[in-house]
């Protein structure tokens, strides 16, 4: 297989503006904006071993960046991240936009999944996409002034002046909330047609959070769905630009709030890649163990609530009890339950406490019995099967087209787990299987997740049995907070320690993207350091965002009860969608 950069250079000698070295070693090419569609079409369809998934699409406001190191001049840079399953490789393409009123060609006709990503870039950066079918704000309220991720947009409430809500403004806000079907791309004329609009959410027990779906119904049959997201948007990416590298870790916990430390994982690994930190083996195994515990906990929440969506009352209580047992262990080790904020740059916060292994061993002995019981109660229940088998089907190609990762992708029969394919943190040292489904329906997605709980138990047992001895933090000056033992010995380390604790570490300039196989799919952090104490740009690519965008495609023609089954089987978290 020849290198993709040289293939592109051969194919499009004019279009390539530059090659940019990055810390994550993902090939990064600058493309002329006018050629980007050509290049993407080529990469998707014509190149050998094509890049079939649009993994991410985002932008960078280059206004305040100091260390650009030979990159082409740009005011706003749009970044396309593609993934090729055949090559098992990412590819990053960037286009420079130099105008103050930036505009890029839309690629929605190449990848329909680009729709929401382009809307997000428009919303956050004000970059217009020519040819986009429905370019409106997606995360921010319609009445919002400015584009939050532009460097000139204030990041703190104190920079924004006092908040006031005079009557006139309140009216304007309320006016903007009115439902006008035509603005949503729906037929306005309800009188002559035999359908009705139903507003499902943002407050609805079946949407598992503040998700709003506008349904166009024919009886109970779904004609069209338009999702409305952004109710859970907290500006996590903007916050990253004002917190220090270290103090941002707690915010990551809350991005996918069921995943706990699993969210710290890609973030700290990306920072470590930028800083060049190698972590000790003990840290790697501890991280894997805690992440897998959280995978079980998250899957238990999914298991219970999915059953509840289908009208089963009991499983959710039993499973939350089991989850509570996991939280007891997590609290004993990390000191907090849902958001332990426990991984650190270059290590973890503390060493494992005395007796940790007994807690986990007890849990490992307890859980299989319960899982078997749940299998009888839920998975083998014939009514449950009747509600889920053959509902919400999609195949592997559709999944890849729409950027679906994780259990949703594996349920289509495609064995793809980033823990196996691109092992990080030493996952290659563990013995576990990747469960897959067959039909890609709700039931298969359930089977895959249940089987993943078993596999996670296997991984955790291997962690307990083979926990390496050694330090719980790396001996690197940028480890935060640094190891304390040397600080009283020489002035250099004392100064480093002092700076690391007061300012936070200064991470060398560079770019790195690291992803993990998170509970819901592939979650990655794309960090750009400008040689400062804060990140210049933090892009959080979350799996749920892509999955929710996909829901309308797989729910068409089903009924409302089926929609709830589909939503349950997709397993998203709204904080993961909106960030």
């Amino acid at each position: 297989m020849s290198d993709i950069s040289s293939i592109l250079e051969q194919q499009f000698p004019e279009a390539i503006l530059a090659k940019q070295p990055t810390k994550d070693e993902i090939p990064t090419l600058w493309i002329r904006p006018t050629d980007i569609r050509e290049v993407l079409l080529y990469l998707k369809h014509r190149v050998e071993q094509p890049y079939r998934m649009l993994y991410d699409l985002t932008a960078i406001d280059e206004q305040a960046r100091q260390h650009r190191g030979g990159q082409p001049a740009s005011r706003f840079t749009v970044v396309y991240v593609l993934f090729s399953f055949e090559r098992n490789a990412f590819l990053r393409l960037k286009i420079p936009l130099t105008d103050e009123q930036p505009a890029a060609p839309s690629i929605t006709s190449i990848w329909p999944s680009a729709n929401w990503y382009e809307r997000e870039v428009y919303d956050m950066f004000g970059v217009k996409f020519e040819g986009h079918p429905d370019l409106r704000r997606i995360l921010m309220p319609r009445t919002w002034q400015g584009h939050p991720l532009q460097k000139c947009h204030p990041a703190r409430a104190t920079e924004m002046g006092p908040f006031q809500l005079p009557l006139e403004k309140q009216r304007r806000e309320e006016e903007a909330l009115q439902f006008r079907p035509e603005e949503w791309g729906l037929e306005a004329d309800v009188k002559t047609e035999n359908f009705m609009f139903l507003n499902l959410g943002p407050q609805h027990p079946g949407t598992h959070g503040v998700l709003r779906l506008v349904l166009e119904l024919d009886g109970e049959e779904i004609v069209r769905i338009i999702p409305d997201i952004g109710f859970h948007h907290r500006g996590a990416e903007k916050m990253a630009e004002r917190q220090s590298w270290h103090t941002y870790i707690p915010y990551t916990d809350r991005v996918e709030y069921l995943g706990g430390v699993m969210n710290n994982f890609p973030y700290v690994m990306a920072v470590e890649k930028l800083a060049g930190i190698e972590v000790p083996d003990r840290v790697k195994v501890i991280r894997i163990m805690m992440s897998e515990l959280f995978r079980i906990s998250s899957h238990l929440v999914w298991y219970g609530t999915f059953a509840q969506d289908l009208g089963m009352m009991t499983p959710v209580f039993l499973m939350f009890n089991d989850r509570e047992r996991i939280f007891d262990i997590v609290a004993a080790i990390c000191g907090d339950r849902m958001h332990p904020n426990w991984f650190r740059i270059g290590g973890v916060a503390q060493d494992l406490p005395k007796g940790w292994d007994k807690l986990i061993r007890d849990f490992l002995d307890y859980m299989p019995r319960r899982l078997k019981e749940y299998d009888k109660m839920v998975m083998r229940n014939s009514l449950f099967k009747r509600r889920t088998i053959g509902i919400g089907i999609y195949d592997t190609d559709e999944a890849i087209e729409w950027g679906v990762t994780g259990p949703g992708l594996r349920a289509t029969g495609f064995e793809w787990d980033f823990r196996k394919k691109q092992p990080y943190s030493g996952y290659d040292q563990f013995d576990f299987d990747v469960p897959i489904g067959k039909n890609g329906d709700c039931y298969d997605r359930a089977i895959v997740r249940v089987e993943e709980i078993w596999q996670s138990l296997r991984i955790i047992r291997q962690c307990v049995d083979n926990m390496p001895a050694g330090p719980y933090k790396s001996d690197h000056p940028l480890t935060t907070p640094p190891l304390k033992e040397y600080t009283m010995q020489d002035i250099e380390t004392l100064i480093n320690h002092f700076l690391g604790v007061t300012w936070g570490p200064v991470i060398p300039p560079g770019e790195a993207m690291v992803g993990v196989e998170a509970t819901k799919g592939h979650n990655s952090y794309y960090l750009i350091s400008d040689g400062n104490t804060t990140s210049y740009r933090t892009r959080i690519r979350t799996p749920s965002f892509a999955h929710i965008q996909f829901v309308p495609m797989i729910s068409r023609g089903y009924t409302i009860p089926d929609l709830l089954a589909i939503l349950g089987s997709v397993d998203y978290v709204l904080s993961d969608v909106d960030r």
């Binding site: 139903l198 009208g311 009924t559 009860p561």
Partner: protein
């Protein structure tokens, strides 16, 4: 004199029934908790028994609010229908040879008539609420009613053939030799399923489906009007349990060491607990699945049951 005793008995039965229905709230919450690894209400009074009282006080003193967009008259009438229909049905239940409101010759038919009335409550509430979720709930309620009413009536006819009477007292007396659930096992199962659908209990709580339609037809109701639906549901459970007891499990009949009323109540409560256990166990089918179950399986089955029962009785007489 007789009339006075009769009136006192009616009032007593009414009071006892309402108390049972209210008490069931507590029983259900506690039993569900037992089956779900949790405590349930255990703070108010001994074992949380006063929770019922607290709930009643709360619900009575809530603001009796009628949303401005509803069809007012229908909105108010709807919850009363379900209460009335169920309470009227209790009139025909013979609790013991002596206790009972009326001794109708057409007892079974009267019950069927009343249970059909109950469905109006759902449909009207859904319509009058002027809310899309409630409307969908009402539509589902109507669809559900059409599917189960037919085989519910047919499933009962086996018992009627065996007893040779529509009168519930006669039906109980006819079970002195053998309780009807043995010869009529198919009819019993079908009637019980229909009863689940009749009371809108899980797995057939399709018109209210909390995870889909939030509360369906009673989404807009609050205060005591909601309470009427609520109590109506528990009364419905008691009614179906009482009917199953009467029709298939020998009513008050039982060994002599316990009085008839105790036998009746024991059997009835066993079925009430079964209702609650089913709620704790099963998921909810889609309503088209319920309809196809009704029309494609249960209806032919109840017809077959009727045919076989008829043939056996006829053959026996020859």
């Amino acid at each position: 004199m007789n009339t006075v005793i009769h009136i006192i008995m009616i009032i007593l039965i009414l009071l006892v029934l309402l108390t049972i229905a209210a008490g069931l709230i507590y029983v259900e919450r506690r039993m569900l908790a037992v089956w779900q690894d949790r405590y349930g209400p255990n703070r108010t009074g001994p074992f949380g028994l006063l929770q019922v009282l607290a709930d009643m006080v709360k619900i009575f003193f809530k603001e009796d609010w009628i949303p401005p967009f509803v069809d007012k008259k229908v909105f108010i009438i709807a919850p009363t229908i379900v209460m009335m229909a169920v309470l009227m049905s209790f009139a025909i239940i013979p609790f013991t040879p002596k206790i009972g409101v009326v001794d109708l010759n057409i007892g079974v038919l009267f019950f069927l008539a009343m249970s059909s009335m109950g469905a109006y409550s759902v449909v009207l509430a859904g319509w009058a609420s002027n809310n899309k979720y409630a409307l969908l709930g009402g539509i589902r309620g109507a669809a559900q009613m059409i599917s189960y009413e037919v085989f519910m009536g047919l499933s009962l006819m086996g018992v009627v053939i065996l007893a040779g009477s529509f009168n519930l007292r006669d039906i109980v007396e006819a079970q002195r030799k053998i309780w009807f659930f043995i010869p009529q096992i198919v009819g019993f199962v079908i009637f019980f399923l229909a009863g689940l659908a009749e009371t809108h209990r899980l797995p057939f709580d399709i018109p209210e489906a909390e995870s889909e339609l939030i509360a369906g037809y009673h989404a807009e109701y609050s205060g005591m009007k909601f309470g009427m639906f609520f109590v109506g549901e528990y009364l419905g459970i008691s009614l179906i349990s009482a009917l199953v007891t009467t029709l298939y499990f020998g009513g008050w009949l039982g060994p002599h060491f316990l009085p008839p009323i105790v036998w009746f109540l024991i059997k009835m409560f066993a079925f009430i607990l079964l209702f609650i256990l089913i709620r704790a166990t099963l998921p909810r089918p889609r309503y088209d699945q319920l309809m196809s179950l009704g029309w494609k399986l249960l209806l032919p089955l109840s017809l077959l049951n009727l045919l076989v029962t008829g043939a056996v009785v006829l053959y026996g007489h020859l």
